[in-house]
Assembly symmetry: C2
Homo-oligomer: 484 residues x 2
């Protein structure tokens, strides 16, 4: 493939941002977006543009972009659709390098809007402006602490970059990630894609050292061949996780009515994603689950899963889910059985899943986990209940305790035990180079915001299994291209 | 079918409970279970039994069950397996009506344990004792505020009753329900089922006026024919939602090793559940999602879904999920289009999904929702983003506001608007007799514990769609048996 990668640093790492259509009126997007940029902690210089204000949200305002006494890397444009060609011309004459056109009123509204969209695309082309949108909810970039977004999400920094052909779905994923402590490097709501297309962002993320995993919500691709080439090139370096909207007749119809684009034939997309080595998520939420694991865990070398469980039923459900997802639950070799024999009561199940049969002591938990991870028959481990186990038990004992002091003592002691256990999990992952995925009891996980030094934990077995199956798929893809 | 229903009131509504093996030592199950019963607020009389203590956790203790100067409805037995035949004999001689045998060490551990289990079953039979277990995590009953459980869950009261052939999975579901505000009427961890079987509890729940929906986690059935008869009879009155563990070779093997039971052939179970009109959940968590909706919403009369969405991409994903699940997204009739024309801008999509195109005003949201619900083409509505919409926006504006007072004002105002909107949703459901299911943006829902006067809300479209498809399935089943 010929290298045609576009440099989008001016968009994601701008030294200055002009907010054209900034406002002091709290119910307007011109207020909300500027406030998001300011309170998001953007590191560069901000220039609110509004002909009727001297100062906006405490910053000096300029009547026109032409009045700004500085180079402008990025213009965030929030004025009505019909004014935008004129605004873009001024931006071009000022040497603005990138623009985000927020408003709708373009091709998604039919032929009149389409003409307007072609007009701004032409101006952007002539002025060499990297244009996002129109009809976009904006971008996020952790490197610049830039929240140039309509909704109030404040993602934490991480290795995931996301391009979404739906602003509402994309920003919801950012919000979900924020709630679950999943960090992002960059985000873009690609809008109507008048100039910059989904594949341009993927190409940029592929070459971006801050991005470890790429997520893409795709409704339709205008340049299938180019996407395929870029995706193929990118998946050799890092995983692309795709969710495709418009998979059915009803869904395609909905795509067409909301963004004017045609959703493509599902069969063609399936083939293309497969050929490119892109991994498919089955729901938008699952993209996040997958992003978290791909960003933080080594890939499994095969599909043989060892299960460690704090309860029998849980092991059953997980074994079922693994087999259904094409994973294997192999028997354990004699050395592994012997290692577990040493720490569990004699009536333990002597099989895979390893059932901890109610053992409360954390020592045996860790020894069983290590026996599984080091086993020659095992490529990946799912650990059910042993993560957060002490905390769950501690807060329980604490609740039963008479005094508040007693309660606090128990909770703290048990939390300390859990954090130590987690460090040991990370140690085992690093030592053996195999992924270990934890599953907590229910919603316990929400009490502790995640950070990247902690293990990958999900709230239900089927989430862990779904992610692991996709890691095996990607691992196999990489092997197949290495084999040529 | 001949009526053979067993009265289990002595188990779920006992006037007195003896805790045999109660303890003052905080790390013992004899302590934890008694503490659960006390702090759970049990309304009856409690008698701790322990030969070495005069008083346990502030209650007078008795050396032996024979020393209790009262009738005992229920004995909770926590002493070691080998002591239990003797304990059961004493219980029988004292006229104890029901017993929960917590410890393991019976048939799940092979032939020696099997003999012990047959022994206690025989004693229970001769003494006419309703025996739960052995190897059980206990029961919950909201009517008596009885948390006779090993783990510290405190379910709120509700219309769902759950029988689980895995204590850890069952009590996890209780915990998840607690976190999500989903209320339970009764729960039983059925253990090894030496005397009382899964189908006995279902039969009892079927005739229980406090139970509106029955959930069952099933790994294997010893009396398939009896289960089928009872389930068929019950599903005419109320829904049974089943999750089957041991669906695969790996899962069945895990079942066998943790409870000694054989998981049956998947094909036979599938046929039986279908014939009985039981609804299958695809994950244990989905049982809760379904329980919530079945307990609180009218059944849809058909499969035609109207979608109202706050964003285009979300509508796409939901339409896709509906079609994949066998639901229909019909066109809207002229009257419905006209009603929406009156409240949305002229460029609205004029189709199903109805895209609110970013309209912030709650008035049009409600009018569009009513237009959908009253439409002759629509059997059920999924409302994306309009629930909790004001609160999400309010807390956002609040965050951007300069003063804490300003923030609190916004948050409160918007929350009030949401609660009013929810009342209107409940009003529409009651007026038109059609289900409306809400989907929030991300994790917003967790900020407000649910109660039964509020609409049914999920955190993601695929959860709402999965549940709705099962409601249509059950509705069709009821129609088919009515038609004979």
């Amino acid at each position: 493939m010929e290298k045609t990668s576009m440099n989008l640093d001016c968009l994601f790492e701008p030294r200055s941002v002009a907010v054209i259509g900034a406002s002091n009126s709290i119910m307007k997007w011109g207020y909300i977006i500027l406030a998001n940029i300011i309170t998001g902690g953007y590191k560069g210089r901000i220039y609110p543009i509004n002909p009727r204000e001297k100062s906006i949200q405490g910053l000096r305002a300029y009547p026109d972009v032409k009045d700004v006494p500085d180079e402008i890397d990025l213009a965030m444009i929030i004025t009505p659709a019909k004014t935008i060609p004129e605004v873009m011309k001024k931006c071009a004459s000022m040497g603005v390098k990138a623009a985000i056109v927020v408003p709708g009123g373009f091709s998604e509204e039919g032929s009149a809007g389409r003409g307007l969209e072609e007009q701004i695309a032409k101006i952007a082309g002539e002025g060499n402006i990297r244009l996002v949108g129109p009809n976009t909810m904006g971008i996020f970039s952790s490197g610049s602490s830039l929240c140039a977004l309509m909704p109030p999400v404040r993602p934490s920094a991480g290795a995931i970059s996301l391009v979404a052909q739906s602003g509402n779905l994309g920003t919801q994923l950012l919000g979900l990630g924020q709630a679950q402590g999943i960090g992002f490097s960059k985000f873009v709501s690609s809008g109507n894609e008048a100039v910059l297309f989904c594949e341009d962002y993927i190409d940029y993320f592929g070459n971006d050292s801050q991005t470890g995993v790429i997520l893409a919500y795709i409704e339709g691709l205008d340049h299938g061949r180019k996407f395929l080439d870029i995706a193929k090139d990118t998946t050799r370096k890092k995983p692309i996780i795709v969710f495709k909207g418009g998979q059915t007749k009803a869904g395609s119809k909905a795509v067409q009515s909301h963004c004017g684009a045609m959703a493509g034939t599902e069969v063609i997309y399936n083939a293309a994603f497969k050929q490119a080595g892109a991994v498919r998520a089955s729901t938008p939420d699952e993209m996040l689950d997958m992003g978290k694991a791909f960003a933080r865990l080594p890939l499994p070398r095969g599909k043989r899963v060892g299960i460690l469980t704090w309860g029998g039923g849980w092991g059953v459900v997980t074994a079922d889910a693994c087999e259904k997802a094409g994973l294997e639950i192999p028997d354990l070799p004699p050395a592994t059985l012997r290692a577990v024999d040493e720490v569990l009561p004699p009536y333990w199940s002597r099989g895979n899943p390893i059932d901890l049969v109610g053992t409360l002591d954390r020592g045996p938990h860790l020894k069983c986990l290590e026996a599984l991870v080091r086993s020659e028959n095992i490529d990946a481990v799912i650990a059910l209940g042993v993560v957060e186990a002490s905390s769950a038990f501690g807060s329980f004992i604490g609740e039963l305790s008479d005094s508040t002091a007693g309660m606090e003592f128990f909770v703290k002691e048990f939390e300390k035990t859990d954090r130590e256990f987690e460090k040991n999990i990370i140690g085992l992952i690093n030592e053996y180079g195999k992924p270990i995925i934890g599953v907590t009891m229910g919603e316990v996980i929400n009490r502790y915001p995640e950070d990247h030094s902690r293990p990958v934990i999900y709230s239900a077995p089927h989430r862990a299994v779904g992610v692991l199956a996709k890691m095996v798929e990607y691992s196999n893809y990489l092997k197949s291209i290495e084999a040529g």
